[in-house]
């Protein structure tokens, strides 16, 4: 693989991370919840898609018509029953709650689906690629994944920016008590945000499942990369999350180009450098600073 191809594939890999990270960024941005179970919820989406494709004989793409509405309901219920209560107990409790959820989900998946690796069939698109040169071929499926990530992130950003639902979400994120005083049902807003976040997780999970095999414990490792994308991108910013995912993907594949073993390491190093730069030097975001959360009260 040449350097150019490492960068091109890195950008596309970044789309995978950004797709998973978008829901993470949304929940952190709106509620300051760090959802450690986000990767596990993505896996649940992948397993649900697997069940549907097995039983109904439809493609994973069509299975989204059932998986996504289901994920919306699960997310809404999760917020109203579990997360809402833990939020009331302080900022640390949701972290512990979602950590517990991660373990419970991994064990349930292991119980029902065995620890074996499953996979989803991406269809004929998986065999096709755009060949740019002899050394560079871009798989169509990667382009599709990146496109879906962009559509999700741009879509979320547009909704936040231009709709009443979006305004209510941003207002609640900034000051939930005052939002109530102007007639916004803050708890319903939170539940809606979690519902959307879980749906994006499930979407990311299905694409992840088509891209590579998955087992009940894949949630935690995927979550790590998604987290790094969110942090590199500036914590809770949607555009930044896309940039963060791309930076991470490029770092990993350029690292792997130097030495195959450097794949994960080089990604972590870039993450660390950004983290240190941000905390020590006060640098924020990676160029894109369209953050929708500002906690400072005028």
């Amino acid at each position: 693989m040449t350097w150019v191809s490492a960068i091109v594939h890195g950008i596309l890999l970044g789309g995978v991370y950004a797709l998973l990270a978008s829901g993470l960024a949304l929940m952190f941005g709106v509620m300051r919840i760090i959802n450690l179970a986000h990767g596990s919820l993505a896996l649940v989406g992948a397993y649900m898609s697997f069940l549907i494709t097995e039983h109904l004989g439809i493609s994973p793409y069509l299975s989204l018509a059932i998986v996504l509405p289901g994920a919306l309901i699960v997310g809404y219920a999760l917020q109203r029953t579990v997360l809402e209560r833990s939020l009331r107990a302080g900022p640390l409790v949701p972290l512990l709650t979602t950590f517990g959820l991660l373990i419970v989900i991994a064990n349930l998946l292991q119980y029902f689906f065995s620890p074996d690796v499953h996979s989803l069939d991406e269809g004929s698109i998986g065999l096709k690629a755009i060949s740019v040169s002899n050394e560079l071929a871009i798989p169509w499926f990667d382009v599709l994944t990146f496109g879906v990530a962009v559509v999700v992130l741009v879509g979320l950003q547009l909704v936040l920016r231009y709709t009443q639902v979006g305004r209510e979400l941003r207002a609640t994120a900034e000051d939930a008590d005052t939002a109530e005083l102007v007639g916004i049902n803050a708890r319903a807003v939170y539940a809606r945000a979690t519902a959307v976040a879980v749906a994006t997780a499930a979407l990311a999970g299905v694409f992840y499942g088509m891209r590579s095999g998955f087992d009940p414990n894949a949630g935690a490792s995927e979550l790590l990369y998604a987290f790094e994308a969110v942090v590199i991108g500036g914590m809770g910013s949607l555009w930044g999350t896309l940039v963060g995912g791309v930076v991470l993907g490029v770092a990993q594949l350029v690292g792997a180009q130097i030495n195959n073993e450097y794949f994960a390491l080089s990604g972590h190093l870039v993450f660390l450098v950004v983290l240190v730069a941000r905390t020590a030097l006060g640098v924020r975001g990676v160029g894109f600073r369209i953050r929708f959360v500002r906690r400072s009260v005028a």
Partner: protein
């Protein structure tokens, strides 16, 4: 006059501190009532309890004949109660227009919309796309009042709208409030400036250490009576 809001033996606590003790009063349809008292007398807490931001420990709040004591704040907005909170509390990352429009979603239907608010507060018109965080104090206050109006309230709760504003700006804010009165909106306002409170209000209620110590309509109260009650001097009594 039929009472729009009636507060009955209300108790509100902040942990161990009892901020509001056995407070009872009424606000009639279209009436302006001023709540005066020293810092820490419980005025802000009382307003926030009426708006639904604090759950009272005892007593009842009725609005338009219905008990709203346990109703969530956002539902009270739908019934027609709007609070302009102390310190304005705008959404700093949202623009002026967004701050106004976000409040329109859940409020009642009525005459107030973006256009009319910008008409009443012309200073906001050129600032529609400016973030609330970068507004001056007077502009912020106008936005905060406008935001409350966007919900088409029947009862407007104003908490220290003159705090931190230049006298000229305060004058302008009160002028626009006077305009609201013609619309039949009832107003319950907390004001530090006693003279101003007694000038704009139909009735004045004075609080001391969480209790109502003096209540009367504008004509029947003298400035001295209110000042005495304000500081807890003497035993000034007056009937409403």
């Amino acid at each position: 006059m039929k009472p729009l809001l009636s507060v009955d033996e209300l108790d509100v606590r902040h942990g161990l501190l009892q901020a509001v003790r056995q407070v009872s009063f009424e606000v009639g349809e279209g009436e302006t009532l001023a709540l005066v008292g020293a810092n820490g007398a419980g005025k802000t807490t009382l307003l926030r309890a009426i708006a639904g931001a604090h759950r009272p420990a005892g007593g009842r709040i009725r609005f338009d004949g219905r008990d709203i004591t346990t109703l969530a704040a956002h539902r009270r907005v739908r019934r027609g109660i709007a609070l302009v909170p102390e310190g304005r509390r705008l959404f700093p990352g949202l623009t002026v227009e967004e701050n106004l429009r976000v409040a329109a979603g859940a409020g009642r239907d009525g005459a107030w919309d973006l256009e009319r608010v910008l008409e009443v507060f012309p200073l906001l018109a050129p600032l529609r796309r400016t973030r609330a965080a970068s507004l001056s104090g007077g502009e912020q206050q106008a936005t905060a009042i406008g935001r409350a109006l966007m919900t088409n309230p029947r009862l407007l709760l104003l908490d220290e709208v003159s705090l931190g504003l230049a006298p000229v700006v305060v004058e302008r804010v009160y002028e626009s409030i006077a305009g609201l009165l013609e619309g039949g909106v009832a107003i319950l306002l907390v004001e530090q400036d006693l003279a101003r409170a007694m000038r704009v209000a139909d009735r004045v209620v004075c609080m001391l250490e969480g209790r109502i110590v003096l209540e009367g309509s504008r004509g029947e109260l003298t400035r001295e009576q209110v000042t005495d009650a304000y500081f807890g001097l003497g035993r000034a009594e007056a009937t409403a």
